[in-house]
């Protein structure tokens, strides 16, 4: 009997995607991510309604908007957008190399590009799903008592979620790349890169902060610059920031694919 032809890139990636989603859904990482999202949403909503006690109804919408924007800026841009890609993609390749299960995939007639893409897509899709659903939940819970603002502010929230989407894609690419390149130190290298280049650099003075995709995404979201010497921070328009973030994300993804394609992955032992 003739063996079936080798699977196409799309089919291979789809099978790997399904496998990875199943594994993530049954793993502790996803539970941890869900708990983190719930805590952020709960904290912001609690803070928003607690602040209402000291002011009259005339300032309620203003305070709600302020609380929700702060929630997005601190809870999402400075926490969840780092945590979720890190949890769901940094070890996607690395744990298979270290756990020696990658052998099962690389001995199949499927291209290694499909393996990398399937794993990336699964992690990124779940991370994105969590960020977007948490963001929408925050919006609806935050404006629950202000029906007019609930719909008036939806555009601003969607803009924030758009910026977060780009950022999640890019951070997932970065994490999967570092995990594929240095599987034995995937977690620490990904965490260091995100902490130094993305988190700290976003608060640097002047043009330095432009190396951080996080800063560009916050500009797209319409947040005022923070960090050191915010008055000297460059203003980045959406039509420049968004393509730059997407390009950087794509670049890291291509690098990850190339790394997986050509690595032997010796599993540390001969």
């Amino acid at each position: 009997m003739r063996p079936p032809p080798p699977v196409s890139l799309g089919t291979g990636a789809a099978v790997i995607f399904r496998m990875q989603v199943r594994r993530l859904v049954r793993s502790r990482k996803l539970r941890l991510g869900v708990v983190a999202c719930a805590l952020v949403v709960f904290a912001v909503v609690a803070a928003r309604y607690a602040s209402l006690r000291d002011v009259g109804p005339d300032r309620a919408v203003e305070l709600a908007t302020e609380a929700i924007q702060s929630g997005f800026q601190w809870g999402f841009f400075k926490l969840l957008v780092f945590l979720l890609p890190f949890l769901l993609t940094s070890s996607a390749i690395a744990e298979e190399v270290e756990g020696r299960t990658l052998t099962f995939l690389t001995t199949r007639p499927v291209s290694r590009t499909a393996i990398a893409l399937g794993k990336f897509t699964a992690g990124a899709a779940i991370a994105l799903g969590l960020v977007v659903s948490s963001g929408l939940l925050l919006h609806f819970l935050g404006y629950a008592t202000e029906p007019t603002a609930l719909f008036d502010s939806l555009g601003a929230t969607l803009r924030v979620l758009g910026a977060l989407t780009l950022l999640v894609f890019t951070y997932c690419s970065m994490c999967i790349f570092w995990g594929a390149l240095l599987p034995e130190a995937a977690g620490i290298v990904s965490a260091l890169y995100l902490a130094v280049v993305e988190f700290l650099a976003a608060g640097m003075p002047g043009l330095f902060r432009c190396v951080s995709m996080n800063y560009l995404a916050q500009q797209i979201a319409g947040f005022p610059p923070g960090g050191l010497m915010p008055e000297a921070a460059p203003s980045v328009p959406v039509h420049i920031g968004a393509p730059v973030i997407a390009t950087v994300g794509l670049l890291f993804l291509v690098l990850a694919v190339i790394t997986v394609q050509f690595s032997e992955y010796r599993f540390g032992k001969a």
Binding site: P5, P6, R22, R108
Partner: protein
Amino acid sequence: MSQEPSIRAVRLSKWYGKITALQDVSLHLGPGIWGLLGPNGSGKTTFLRLCAGQLKPALGEVTICGRRPFGNPDALRLLGLCPEADAMYDELTALEFVTSMAELSGYGRREATERAAEALERFGLGEAMERRIGGYSRGMRQRAKLAQSVVHDPRVILLDEPLTGTDPASRHMILGEIRRRADEGAVVLFSTHVLPEVEAITDRVLLIARGQLVAQGLVHEIRDLLEEHPHHIRVYTPKPRELAAAVLHVEGIVGVQFAPFGVELMTYDPDATYDVLTEKILELDLPFESISSPDANLEALFHYLVERSTRGAGTGADAAVGTYRPMQSQLEAGAGAAPYRPQADGPGGAR
């Protein structure tokens, strides 16, 4: 491109930094079951991983049915690998795992599920296939690994220590399935360091030691070699000279060596020597702590073969006794500049 199931290696070498894992291995295996014997760390797994396209050769080449396997889907679809490591996707059920592997081999979802269920049934996991692998015993995990390696009916099956952790009933089932695949025309390369495991399934073996293929032949020839290889017996005693003097005349003993622990005897007739030793110790009332044999295993034979092949100017020419054929010297002429010409050796034989 050859479509006949085969594994061919020509002057295949692989090293990791300064460590040589495999050196100048040449062979050509046709359909049937082949035992790959060697002590731990001898290069068996490296050889299998090179065959499975997991590693790139440092020198030489390996082909599966005429195709280089590394990153080559056309070659990979023809082979199945059961790796040695006890590594599995613990979050998945066996059915999900094997179905995914079948899908990655090119089957549609429905056919992949049917094939996976059939493969798992064959390996005795029919009732447990819907359970997560994380809850499996070692033997069940091993059988799930074997099921994934044959779910797509590969022409070349590479099994790295496939009987590890299995009970006698499972072994019987696994060996039966391997035989069936070989009877259908597949090449099965079965790696182990336990001679009886190979004996149970094939009489054709390759011996690998220190990264070199030292010999190939029939299992009974290995048995003969084990008998011809001087057997070492260590006697831990404070009076080694008295003991040595008492047993030196015994037929079969070819050497005596004194050591800090006592004395080491070299004999071609271990059974008779053990009998005489016991008699003499009782007769002379010699004090002793224990008697042991450091080399009652294949490892000693491998060292013996390697040493002998080294003495044979590196050709491996006297690496074997009797009809034993050292592969390296057989293939030397065909593996170099001249085109490789297999030497017919009957159907399915090594060439």
